[in-house]
Amino acid sequence: MSPATSLPRWADVVLLPALNVALAFLAAGLVVLAIGENPLEATALLLRGALGHAEGLGFTLYYATNFVFTGLAVAVAFHAGLFNIGGEGQAMLGGIGAAAAALALGHLPGAVALPAAILAAALCGAGWAAVPGWLQARRGSHVVITTIMFNFIASALLVYLLVDVLRPEGMMEPSSRGFASGARLPFIHEAVAPLGLALPKTPLNLAFPLALLAALLVWLLIYRSRLGYAIRIVGANPEAARYAGISPAKITVLAMAISGALAGMMAVNEILGVQHRLLLAFTAGYGFVGIAVALMGRGHPAGIVLAALLFGVLYQGGTELAFDKPNISRDMIVVIQGLVVLFAGALEFMLRPALARVLQRRRRG
C-alpha cells in the first residue's frame, strides 16, 4: 500500500469502522426520512428494543451467537485467502449432525450427550466444507462456486431427511421429533436460576458463552499458533508458503474444515439450544450474514464479536421497530443491513485516503 493512505493503528481499527457504520446509519436515516418517518425516533426505538430491557437484550445476544459462529467461519477461511460462502450449507449439515447425535444419545446425561452433539455439529460442518476445500486444492475448482453449490445440496439433503427419514409417523410438519432432555443445551435464564437470578425467558442459551470461547480459540489459532501462521501465509502470499515448505493444498483443506466446523456450530445455538429438534430453514440466512460480520470485523475475532453484536441489535431492534412502526417493515432492517455491508464492507476504504490526509495535517500542524 502506498504511504499516502497509511493510518495510525487506532484510526484503522476503531475510527474508520466507526465512521463507516455511522455513514451507513446516516444513509439509512435518509431512507427512513423518505418514507415519512422520523429517523431519530426510529433509532431510539431500535436501540431500546434491542438493548433497553433484559428480554430484548437476551434476544439480541441470541442472534449475535449465530453471527459470531458464522462470522468466525468466514474469517478463518478468509485468512487462508478463501472465500467460504457456504456457511448456510455447513450450518445445515451441523444441524443434521447435532440432531443425529441428540436423537441417538439424548437419553444419556447432558454431560455426555451435549459434548457429543456439539462435536457432531462441528464435524459434519467441517466435512461439508472440506470437500470444496479439497476440490479447490486438488482440482482448482473455485470454492466460491462449489460452496454455493454445496448450499443447495445441503438444503436438498435436509429436506429429504426431514420429509422421508426423520419425520415421526403422522406428523405433517417436516421436522424431527423433539430431543430428550439430555441433548438440550440449557437456556441462560434456566442456568442462572439456581443462583437466585431471575431473568426473563429468552432463547439465549449456553451456546452464547460457547461462541465467545470459540472467538478466543480462533484468535489463538490465527494469531498465536503455528497452524494459524501457516494459514495466514497461504492467504497472504501463496508463493511464500511454497518457498517455506508449507503445502497450500493441505492448508486449504484444513482451513476450510475449521471454517465449516465453526459454521456447523451455529446449529448448536439453533438446534440444541432453542428448537430442540431438527427443522427446515433454521439457518435463515445467518450463514450469509456471517460474510458481512467477518468483513465488518476485519477478520479479527474481537471485531467479529462486536460486529455480531451490532447485527444482533439490528435483528432484534428491527423486529421491535417493525412491530411499533408498521410503516417500517422488516425489509427496512434488511436495507439497513445492506447499507452496513455496503459501507463497512464493500466501501471499507472509501474514507481512508481522506482520513489519512486529515490526520496527517493535524499531526504536522
Binding site: M1, S2, P3, A4, S6, L220, R224, S225, R226, L227, Y229, A230, R232, I233, A236, N237, E239, A240, R242, Y243, A244, G245, I246, S247, A356, Q360
Partner: protein, 511 residues
C-alpha cells in the same frame, strides 16, 4: 543558447511521512542523453512519474522547451512530446506489433487506416533509427529486446521528442544493450532528447552526455559525464566512500556439498525449462550462474530448493541424496538455505510484522516453537538479534515487513537463511533492488560464508556481481548449460556472448 528541452524547477513531492523529492531541479539540453542515477528509493522513479504525469508534484514547475507545462496525466505528457518506456513493458502480448503501436491512437471506429499508418511509421523508424521490427509479429513471441523496441516505437509514434527510459537494460543481454545504445545514439543524432534512468554506472559512462545524481530525494550533483568517473558517481550516490568487498579468498578444494546430475525440469504445461544440467559445488566455493532472465535459472533454483518437481535427475546435499518427493521444508532440514530471487513474491510476507517474516520457512524450528503455538517472545528476541547482527534499520521486529527499504528487507532474508548455518546456500539476485551501501554488506556476508567452508550457488543477472564473487561461472541459455568458465580465465565479453547462446567463436552453442 536554446531553452532546455526539459526543465524541472523545485519539484517537491511527499507521500505521507516520506519526502520523495525535495526541491529537485534538473535541466536537459535538447539533443542530448542525460542520465539520472541514484540508489533505490532515491526518488528517481517518483521524479520521472511526475514528469510523465502519474503523480502531481506538491510544488515546483515543469518547462518543456522553455514553456511552462501543466502535466497532470500521461495524456498531457504525450501532448507535450514526452514519451516513456517503462521498466515493465505495457504491451498486449497476444496482439501484433502494429496493433500495439496503434493502441490508443486508432484514429476512428475502423482500424484499417490506423494500422496502415502504424505500419508506415514502423517502417520509417526502422530506416531512420535502426529500430527494425516486423510489424506483423505477435508481441508475445518477440524477445525482450525486441519488445522494448516496440515500446520505443510506441513512444515515437505518439510524437515523443523527449524519451524517458526507466532502467531499460535490466532485462537485456549485453548484446541487446549494445543495440539499444546504438538506437539511442541515432535518436540523439537526429535531435531527440533522452532521459536515461539507471543504477548501472557503466551505462552512464558509455552513453550519456550529462548525468544527475539523486540521493534521498535530493539532486546532489549535475555533471558532464566526460568530467567524472564511476567511482566518484558511486560515492555521490551513497554519500560516502565505498570499500569494495575483500574478495580474494582462494577457492578451497573441499568435498562437494551440492551435486546436481542430469537435472531436467518441466513446467506445468510440460515445457522443459531446465535441460539435463549437471554441476557440483565444493565446500568453500561460489558457483555463479549467468544468463538472461528467463533462461531456466529460476526453475533450476526452485527444483534444487524443492519448490518445483524435477522431471529427472539427481540432487545430493553433503553427499546425501535428496528424495524426489522432498518439499522445501524437508530440503531445508537437509542443510540448504535459499535466498529467493524475488523477496516480495516469495521471500517475505510483506503484510506481516518483521519477526513473522524472519521465521518464514523455519516456522517449525524448535526455537520458535511452544507446543502448537509460536513462541512469540523467542521469535521476537531472535529477530532482534538478527537485526542487530545484520544491521537492519530500523531494528524493530514488530514493524511491518513492507515498511523496510529493499536493502533492509533483503538483509532480513539473508540473516534468516545464513544464520541457520547451512551446508549449501542458494542466493538468487541477492542485490536486486538493493542500494549500494547494502550491496557491499551483502557481498561481504556471502564471502564470509564461503570462508566458513560452505557451498554457495549464486544466480545473478548482474555480471559485475558474478565477477566480484564467483569462483566459477556457469552460463545458462534456453534451459541448458552453455559452458563453465573459471572467473580468472574469462571476461564479461565472453560470458555475454555465451548468455546469448553463442560461444566465443561466434557459433551457435545451443541448438
Amino acid at each position: 543558447m536554446d531553452a532546455p528541452a526539459i526543465e524541472l524547477i523545485g519539484i517537491d513531492k511527499r507521500f505521507g511521512a516520506v519526502h520523495a523529492n525535495r526541491a529537485v531541479s534538473l535541466a536537459v539540453r535538447a539533443g542530448t542523453i542525460h542520465g539520472v542515477i541514484g540508489e533505490n528509493g532515491a526518488g528517481k522513479s517518483t521524479l520521472m512519474s511526475i514528469l510523465f504525469g502519474f503523480y502531481e508534484a506538491d510544488s515546483g514547475e515543469i518547462r518543456v522547451h522553455g514553456r511552462p507545462a501543466r502535466i497532470l496525466n500521461p495524456a498531457d505528457a504525450i501532448a507535450a512530446g514526452i514519451g516513456m518506456v517503462h521498466q515493465h513493458f505495457m504491451l498486449v502480448a497476444p496482439m501484433r506489433v502494429a496493433e500495439n503501436v496503434m493502441l490508443g491512437a486508432e484514429g476512428g471506429a475502423l482500424t484499417a487506416g490506423g494500422l496502415a499508418r502504424a505500419r508506415a511509421e514502423i517502417a520509417r523508424f526502422g530506416r531512420e533509427y535502426g529500430l527494425l521490427v516486423d510489424p506483423d509479429a505477435i508481441v508475445g513471441e518477440l524477445s525482450v529486446g525486441l519488445q522494448q523496441r516496440v515500446e520505443i516505437i510506441k513512444a515515437l509514434y505518439r510524437g515523443a521528442e523527449i524519451l524517458i527510459l526507466d532502467e531499460p537494460t535490466g532485462v537485456l543481454t549485453p548484446a541487446e544493450t549494445e543495440q539499444l545504445f546504438r538506437v539511442l545514439d541515432e535518436l540523439r543524432r537526429q535531435g531527440r532528447t533522452i532521459l536515461l534512468i539507471t543504477h548501472k554506472l557503466r551505462e552512464i559512462m558509455a552513453i550519456t552526455d550529462t548525468v544527475s545524481v539523486m540521493r534521498r530525494g535530493e539532486m546532489v550533483a549535475h555533471l558532464e559525464t566526460r568530467a567524472t568517473n564511476p567511482r566518484a558517481l558511486a560515492e555521490l550516490m551513497v554519500g560516502r566512500a565505498i570499500q569494495p568487498p575483500m574478495r580474494d579468498i582462494p577457492a578451497a578444494e573441499g568435498r562437494p556439498l551440492l551435486e546436481v546430475e542430469n537435472l531436467t525440469v518441466t513446467d506445468a504445461r510440460g515445457i522443459p525449462r531446465v535441460r539435463n544440467v549437471s554441476f557440483s559445488i565444493r565446500a568453500g566455493e561460489i558457483l555463479g550462474i549467468a544468463g538472461v532472465s528467463g533462461n531456466g535459472q529460476s526453475e533450476l533454483v526452485e527444483a534444487i530448493a524443492g519448490m518445483m518437481p524435477r522431471a529427472s535427475g539427481a540432487i545430493r546435499i553433503a553427499g546425501r541424496a535428496v528424495p524426489e518427493a522432498a518439499d522445501a521444508a524437508r530440503i531445508r532440514a537437509m542443510g540448504l538455505a535459499h535466498v529467493p530471487e524475488d523477496r516480495h513474491r516469495m521471500g517475505l510476507v510483506t503484510a506481516f510484522p518483521a519477526y513473522e517474516s524472519a521465521m518464514l520457512g523455519r516456522q517449525d524450528a524448535p526455537r520458535y516453537r511452544a507446543g502448537p503455538f509460536v513462541d512469540l517472545a523467542a521469535a521476537i528476541a531472535d529477530t532482534a538479534g538478527k537485526m542487530a547482527r545484520f544491521d537492519v534499520r530500523p531494528p524493530d521486529p514488530l514493524l511491518k515487513t513492507a515498511n523496510f527499504s529493499g536493502g533492509n528487507q533483503q538483509k532480513i532474508v539473508l540473516a534468516r537463511e545464513i544464520e541457520t548455518d547451512p551446508d549449501v546456500l542458494i542466493v538468487a539476485q541477492p542485490t536486486r533492488g538493493v542500494d549500494i551501501g547494502a550491496i557491499a554488506f551483502i557481498h561481504r556476508r556471502i564471502l564470509d560464508l564461503k570462508a566458513a567452508g560452505k557451498a554457495i550457488l549464486l544466480v545473478s543477472v548482474e555480471l559485475d556481481e558474478l565477477f566480484a564473487l564467483a569462483d566459477r561461472i556457469l552460463v545458462m541459455c534456453g534451459g541448458a548449460l552453455v559452458g563453465t568458465r573459471r572467473r580468472e580465465e574469462t571476461d564479461q565479453n565472453e560470458i555475454g556472448l555465451m548468455m546469448a547462446g553463442l560461444d566465443n567463436a561466434g557459433a551457435e552453442a545451443v541448438p
